[in-house]
């Protein structure tokens, strides 16, 4: 438990001489433990006093007072590497990391060649590396002096995540510092903090997979330093430096030649495209070899799924943003003309219509012979499938644009006031949850959880039985995208332009993929791929396990609705007025 103060040395009253004062507060109640801590402190002071190297801070003084001990050190103008990593947007430049790596090898070589005994730093990690204003490294914190006691639980030296396997067994050799330097470089190049991961798991996070801009050569050097067996690593810091220099020469990195990211080629051609007369913001439906899609030109279109030929259209008096559903021979969809339309699948002729008191933007769902959908009139409607008569209406306090999800004989739906409701089949409220802002996203049930997002920038996982928040995941911005879950992962887009993959058990981010604009579209999983649109106009196909881009297709407008995948074909609408069919 220590703090470091920036202090002024008053021995020099006429100039401002800054020093760093490192304070150790000794709160241990046991006098023996207290004494050991003081001894460790003095040990660090004495060790530092004997070292003279540009990358090691000079020591001016040390003293103890009551339960506090102080070390007066050279003040370093700069930041520690951990702060540098976290404050950098994106990745640090490879040549920058390489320069620091070479300097760190220099200082480690100096310590390891110390006479009479080599000094093992034992705690190489980004927070112990200062980067001064010249961009040079300084090694700080020589405070590790805990000795290893065999047979006692938890006697650890160093910092978990950065320390090599043998250090956990109490062996600290120069090769342990090499490993920790490798771990530090891995962290700097990938931004993945090894303290958040199981130990010795670097090979599960290959550098170039996370940061493809890193050269093969540098990755190979870092991997060699991170070998599990000490004898497989570089035999000395000098050797590692030599390898780094070779990598730098080979890639020309020291001449500041940056490598370029090679992106996948955008050569996806649609199987067919069908043009409507206005924007398409809704999600298509595939039913009986036909694609049905609603459009802002007020029409619901039926298109032959095989060749994209027009079959029929059905006019309403408002834009259609909801996704149709089909049951037997009838197609059901809502329109901004306040009506729910039931239309023959093949004929395109009206069967019945149902009037709500506001535009219908929520998509209908079918269960137990009824249609469930919300409306801007603030009601959740339950309508008999056969005759179009209301079974019941449930009043909420705001417009419902979210599409209900039906499971366990319950209807789950959100509204624009941020309410999330669980209503049983009799139209009675079972539980309610309040988010801070609108819930436009449509829920999905996954195991014991009901998942949805809100404009309050959270992805929520609620216990579907009682509405308790099991976890929530913070998104960069609000979201109206609806999550989809498979295996142990839930996927969702957000207005910050990212598509997220989150572990459903631990609520930890597994990957995120950046698009160039808001993601209002909802991801869809088909086989081993995820499909999702973005307001940047692209439809993205990603490997859903890793978030790696497979291909993208650029439409000429925004993709706001969600794609639909059926039989290896992706159907998606765009605000460029077209529906596209693409090979999945």
């Amino acid at each position: 438990m220590g703090s470091v103060y920036r202090a002024r040395d008053l021995h020099f009253p006429n100039v401002v001489k800054l020093v760093a004062v490192k304070e150790m507060v000794n709160t241990a109640p046991d006098p023996l433990v207290r004494q050991t801590i003081v001894q460790n402190f003095e040990r660090e002071a004495n060790l530092l006093a004997t070292l003279n190297h540009p990358a090691i801070p000079r020591i001016y003084d040390y003293f103890s007072e009551d339960e506090r001990s102080y070390l007066v050190l050279e003040y370093i103008h700069g930041k520690d590497l951990e702060a540098v990593i976290s404050e950098t947007n994106g990745f640090l430049a490879e040549e920058q990391v390489l320069t620091w790596a070479i300097q760190l090898c220099d200082v480690l070589a100096f310590l390891h060649n110390h006479k009479p005994d080599p000094i093992i730093f034992r705690d190489m990690k980004p927070s112990n590396v200062m980067i001064d204003y010249n961009g040079d490294v300084k090694l700080i914190d020589f405070g590790i002096a805990k000795t290893f006691q065999a047979g006692q639980k938890g006697t650890m030296i160093g910092t978990e995540g950065y320390s090599p396997p043998e250090q956990y067994r109490g062996e600290a050799t120069p090769l342990a510092d090499i490993y920790a330097l490798g771990a530090t470089l891995h962290h700097a190049l990938t931004r993945r903090d090894p303290r958040m991961e199981p130990p010795f798991s670097f090979n599960e996070r290959p550098i170039r997979k996370i940061n493809p801009a890193v050269s093969l050569e540098l990755e190979a050097v870092v991997n060699a330093a991170l070998q599990y067996n000490p004898e497989d690593r570089f035999s000395s810091a000098e050797d590692m430096k030599e390898a780094l220099m070779a990598a730098a020469r080979k890639t020309g990195l020291l001449a500041k030649v940056t490598s370029h990211l090679v992106g996948p080629v955008n050569n996806v051609k649609p199987l067919w495209a069908f043009a409507c007369e206005d924007e398409i913001r809704s999600t298509p439906l595939y039913y009986q070899n036909t694609v049905f899609v609603g459009c802002y030109d007020n029409n619901l279109y039926a298109i032959n799924a095989g060749d994209g030929k027009f079959l029929w259209k059905y006019p309403t008096d408002g834009g259609i943003v909801s996704k149709p559903v089909a049951f037997e021979d009838t197609l059901y969809f809502g329109s901004e003309d306040r009506r729910l339309h039931a239309v023959g699948v093949r004929s395109g002729k009206v069967v019945w219509t149902y009037y709500a008191n506001g535009p219908i933007r929520s998509s209908p769902r079918i269960a137990e012979g009824h249609l469930f959908f919300g409306s801007d009139d603030q009601y959740l409607h339950a309508v008999n499938l056969n005759n179009g008569r209301a079974a019941w209406k449930f009043e909420t306090s705001e417009a419902i644009r979210s599409t209900p999800f039906i499971a366990h004989e319950m209807v789950y739906v959100g509204n624009e006031g941020g309410d999330f409701l669980a209503i049983d089949f009799r139209g009675e409220l079972k539980w309610r949850f309040q988010a801070k802002r609108a819930i436009t996203s449509s829920p999905t049930i996954f195991g014991p959880m009901v998942l949805f997002t809100s404009l309050d920038a959270n992805l929520y996982a609620l216990d579907h039985r009682n509405g308790w928040v099991i976890w929530r995941f913070r998104l960069g911005k609000g979201s109206i995208s609806s999550p989809c879950a498979v295996d142990d992962l839930v996927f969702v887009g957000a207005a910050d332009g990212y598509i997220y993959a989150v572990d459903t058990k631990t609520a930890k981010e597994v990957w995120r993929f950046r698009t160039e604009h808001q993601v209002s579209s909802s991801p869809v999983i088909y086989k081993d791929a995820l499909y999702c649109g973005s307001v940047d106009g692209n439809l993205y196909c990603l490997e859903y396990r890793t978030g790696r881009l497979r291909w993208k297709f650029a439409s000429e407008g925004q993709i706001i609705g969600s794609p639909l995948v059926f039989d290896d074909i992706v159907y998606v609408g765009s605000t460029d007025h077209k529906v596209y069919a693409l090979l999945a």
Binding site: G154, R169, P198
Partner: protein, 298 residues
């Protein structure tokens, strides 16, 4: 379906006529038994605990806690329980202080968060998610231990049961198990021990692991390190089985089969815990022993 049952009750004779005369399959019998089983309106948690210093240690550095509550009424019933096992590390390093602090601080934090829900007239759910509450509770405990007993550390396995979900916060090598009715003992936590990690990496076999000289070295412990990343996750309460939390003084000594057998033979959960502790002591009792068993009824 409902219509079918109505007919069934109106004309019992027709039900007889429809009955299958061939011997019923096991599945049919189970489904009949299941449909006839008494339904309890109130779901409740039942728990037992056991602890012993063991045969070879002088000091008990384990701590445990079990809070079980049922609140039932017209507004429904929701079982709530908090169960914690903590195993302090090291001989002279104040392991008992660390484990005691871990148990009390975590429980104190969680109970404070739930008290407006449990004990006020208009129940208010905490704003944070269950996982966030557990995360914050562990962080509090970490701070307290670093202040009260610097350089000491402890394991922590805490299970918050709410309804049919269990949210677990876990650091170190104490364990949470699902004991299934078919006799499987499934470990739901992951040991943060060097030996387990080496086994996961395939550097040593399970047999080598059992005799590994540094079996007691942890890579993650409460009170140690500047950043602590506890494992926090939510799982369903084991259906028709038990949730068990224990320190390595139990799982390191008894086999899974022994544990399951003892639990099945015991007349009650507290007796089961006592028998588990006795069995671990009979097998040498090399370490402190702590065990908590929980069952969800209804």
């Amino acid at each position: 379906m409902i219509e079918f049952f109505r007919n069934l009750f109106r004309k019992p004779r027709s039900a007889v006529d429809m009955a299958t005369t061939a011997p019923l399959t096991e599945q049919q019998i189970q489904s009949i038994l299941h449909s006839q089983a008494v339904r309890y309106d109130v779901q409740q948690l039942v728990a037992g605990t056991g602890q012993s210093v063991g045969k070879q240690r002088e000091l008990n550095e384990d701590s445990l806690l079990a809070i079980t509550s049922t609140l039932a009424g017209n507004s429904g019933s929701l079982p709530f329980g908090l169960y914690i096992v903590a195993d302090g590390m090291g001989g002279h390093q104040y392991g008992e202080v660390a484990s005691n602090a871990a148990v009390r601080v975590v429980a104190g934090y969680v109970m404070k968060k739930f008290s407006p829900y449990l004990f006020s007239l208009n129940p208010v759910q905490p704003e944070e998610s269950l996982q966030e509450i557990m995360q914050a509770a562990v962080r509090e405990a970490q701070k307290t231990i670093q202040h009260e007993a610097p350089s000491s550390g402890t394991t922590l396995t805490a299970a918050l049961v709410l309804g049919q979900q269990v949210t677990i916060a876990h650091v170190g090598d104490s364990r949470a198990y699902h004991i299934h009715p078919d006799g499987r003992a499934e470990v739901v936590t992951r040991d943060h021990s060097l030996v387990k990690r080496l086994e996961e990496l395939g550097h040593i076999s399970a047999e080598q692991a059992a005799n590994y000289p540094h079996r007691n070295v942890l890579y993650r412990a409460l009170g140690q390190g500047d950043i602590l990343e506890p494992d926090i996750f939510t799982i369903a309460f084991p259906q028709a089985g038990y949730l068990m939390l224990c320190s390595d003084g139990l799982w390191g000594v008894l086999s899974d089969q022994d544990i399951v057998r003892i639990i099945k033979e015991a007349p009650s959960l507290p007796r089961a815990c006592q028998s588990l502790v006795e069995a671990a002591n009979s097998a040498g009792g090399p370490d402190n022993i702590s065990v908590v068993l929980v069952q969800l009824i209804g």
